[in-house]
């Protein structure tokens, strides 16, 4: 039986990724140069201005990005190596997007509740564990983290309505 994670059709080629990343580098370098120029990237009466050093950093980023861009374009014509296949990309997405939701969850319900729920759901849906075991692991990590940070180290972490209802 073919599992979805074994799907090995290429999604994007290495050369395409190289080009995308080089383009992003170029855009970032241009942004750095633009903002440094706005602040003043030359020599004032009292020495170099704020944008002096970053301006050249941005310039070097742009130059190396251009070289990498050209190299990527030339590579694209010659080799078709796959950057990531459909199956593995699915696996990565299955970890990454829930993790993003988890970070959003921290903001809404606090880190302890979000962590408990996140670990439990991860185990149920990706690890195919029973709800009971997953819940137990999630809850114990959440509780342990709570005791460790709020009690022993006295480092306050984001809390939500559950902690408030319990009087913290």
């Amino acid at each position: 039986m073919a599992r979805p994670e074994d799907d090995d059709t290429g999604v994007v080629s290495v050369a395409t990724m190289e080009i995308i990343v080089a383009a992003l580098f170029f855009a970032f370098g241009a942004l750095v140069m633009f903002d440094s120029y706005r602040l003043g990237a030359s020599w004032a009466s009292d020495g170099p201005e704020s944008g002096y050093f970053p301006f050249y950093t941005g310039l070097i980023i742009c130059v190396s990005a251009l070289v990498l861009l050209v190299q990527g374009l030339r590579q694209r014509a010659r080799v078709a190596l796959s950057f990531v296949e459909a199956g593995p990309l699915r696996q990565v997405a299955l970890v990454f997007f829930p993790a993003l939701i988890y970070v959003g969850g921290i903001q809404m319900v606090g880190i302890y509740v979000a962590s408990t729920v996140y670990i439990a759901l991860f185990m149920v849906f990706l690890g195919h564990y029973t709800w009971l075991r997953s819940g137990a692991v999630g809850l114990s990590v959440g509780l342990f983290a709570f005791l460790l940070f709020e009690r022993w180290f006295q480092i306050p972490l984001p809390k939500g309505f559950v902690e408030r209802a319990l009087g913290f």
Binding site: V21, V32, V67, I111, F122, P158
Partner: protein, 501 residues
């Protein structure tokens, strides 16, 4: 011998019950970090750093540096038993370590790896003990131009000694510098690249970048490979240890070469990973058992481990003596120094004698404690690796999120960590090096300050980087290293046509 006296004083500081407990705790945590995928020396220490804010600097650095030793030891366990390098510097250990484990000689391989690590670290610490004070003494004469030249040398050597595309090294490094510049400019008080955001005024914290790049990025990579741990079991008892130790003296030449390669690559920021590969390669060429390498030769386990540990340890020398870390993990430790209110650099040896010599003494003790701990607890850590990845992965993401949040108590940092995680995943797959980026992010402000001061001294002329023999030779070496990879095509053409020259 001033150093010996200072060292004895250091032992007196390090040898308290409290510090010994911290060493033990640090080693155990470090091995755990080294064993788990997604947690490594650099981001493991970055996550734990906020917990040390209330400790005394000496206790804090003992704890954190012991985590580092532990992580160096721990990488070998996964390499040998599971054929999965827990850390990049233990990749070369898998070549002969895992075949040995498959032949049922896991105990021997582990003992050889740990002992090799210990030997490498020990010689590197001896070197630090005697060389670091001299380097610091020498560096006291440095002014801003000299400092900038040394920074230049450190960064150019990444370009010159890196394996991949030099353009990628430069791009990644400059990205680090640009990110370091974000926030308030300390000289003029102007806001740089904040684009009106008050949260960006703080700038990018490199700890967040380290946690994202190495932690989240690594988890994504591991997930892609669809990792299933299929490990060998290992038992280490006194008999195995003893019989392995009896064989080890035969590899004295390999060990010496490993120590030399490691110390060199650690002091110059080459790092433990290239050192371990280089040592393995040299050993294969020079050893009479070279043809057996890759099939389970003990010498092939000793060679990379000695070099990796020597490099990992000696990376602390430039950090202590010059304030320039030789590896990402050393950079995180340097960040710790700043947070504890210590100014890294040569003055540390003058003003913070207790701290420096306490740390150096703890390196000796930490490695002895480490060797004992790893030799006795291998089965425990191997058992941890049998916990399925679908439990470990979410727990590590939670730990990373907590670590990123506690750096500045800011939610923005947790989001940034995720962003750096994607960057880490893509960079790793495209061979953009992350170590120079992290070092640039840490040292960006200091490099810029020394550049500005140097430029002020010369009224904006770059000739100050050649004003005397000292700064001139450092700058020249830096430029040579920078140009080295670009000359490679020319060298190849020259070699191809020997008659033409």
């Amino acid at each position: 011998m001033d150093e010996l006296q200072s060292l004895l004083h250091g032992f007196a500081i390090a040898l308290t019950w409290q510090n010994l407990m911290l060493m033990f705790l640090g080693i155990v945590l470090g091995v755990l970090i080294g064993v788990l995928p997604g947690l490594g020396g650099a981001n493991g220490i970055a996550i734990l750093l906020p917990l040390t804010f209330t400790m005394s600097p000496t206790s804090a650095i003992i704890l954190l540096s012991c985590i580092y030793w532990g992580a160096l030891f721990g990488g070998a366990i996964t390499s040998i038993l599971f054929n999965i390098p827990g850390e990049p510097w233990s990749v070369a250990t898998t070549f002969d370590g895992h075949p040995m484990a498959r032949q049922g000689r896991a105990g021997e391989a582990l003992t050889a790896a740990f002992t090799g690590s210990f030997i490498g670290a020990f010689f590197a610490v001896v070197m630090i003990t005697f060389l670091a004070p001299m380097v610091a003494q020498f560096a006291l004469r440095f002014g801003p131009p000299e400092y900038f030249a040394v920074y230049l040398l450190a960064f150019c050597s990444f370009v010159g000694m890196g394996k991949g595309s030099p353009w990628k090294t430069i791009a990644a490094m400059m990205l680090g510098f640009a990110l370091a510049a974000v926030g308030m400019d300390t000289v003029t008080g102007q806001l740089r690249m904040t684009f009106g955001s008050t949260e960006l005024m703080r700038g990018f914290d490199f700890l967040v970048a380290v946690i994202g790049l190495f932690g989240i990025g690594e988890i994504l990579l591991t997930m892609e490979e669809g990792l299933e741990f299929k490990g060998r079991s290992a038992k280490i008892d006194a008999r195995v240890v003893w019989s392995t130790w009896k064989q080890l003296p035969r590899f004295w030449a390999t060990s010496i070469r490993g120590v030399l390669i490691g110390c060199w690559m650690g002091v110059t920021p080459g790092g433990a990973t290239p050192a371990s590969f280089m040592s393995y390669g040299v050993a294969r060429q020079m050893s009479k058992n070279g043809h057996n390498f890759g099939k389970g030769e003990m010498e092939g386990v000793v060679a990379p481990e000695v070099a990796a540990h020597a490099a990992g340890t000696s990376a602390l020398l430039p950090m202590l003596a010059l304030g320039i870390p030789g590896s990402p993990t050393a950079a995180v430790l340097l960040g710790g120094l700043l947070i504890w209110g210590l100014q890294p650099g040569p003055l540390l040896f003058v003003e913070q004698k207790d701290f420096v010599w306490g740390l150096i003494a703890s390196m000796y003790l930490g490695n002895i404690v480490g060797l004992i701990v790893v030799l006795t607890t291998v089965p425990l850590f191997a058992a941890i690796l049998r916990i399925p990845f679908s439990i470990i992965a979410p727990v590590i993401i939670v730990v990373c999120a907590i670590g990123a949040y506690t750096v500045n108590n800011a939610m923005l940092d947790v989001w940034l960590m995720m962003l750096f995680g994607v960057a880490g995943y893509v960079f790793k797959k495209l061979d953009y090096p992350m170590a120079p980026m992290v070092l640039a992010l840490v040292l960006g402000d200091r490099a810029e300050d020394s550049f500005r001061q140097a430029m002020l001294m010369s009224q904006g002329s770059l000739s100050i980087l050649w004003q005397n023999w000292l700064v001139g030779s450092i700058s020249a070496l830096a430029i040579a290293l920078l140009l080295w990879p670009f000359l490679a095509p020319l060298r190849a053409r020259f070699k191809a046509r020997p008659g033409a020259a």
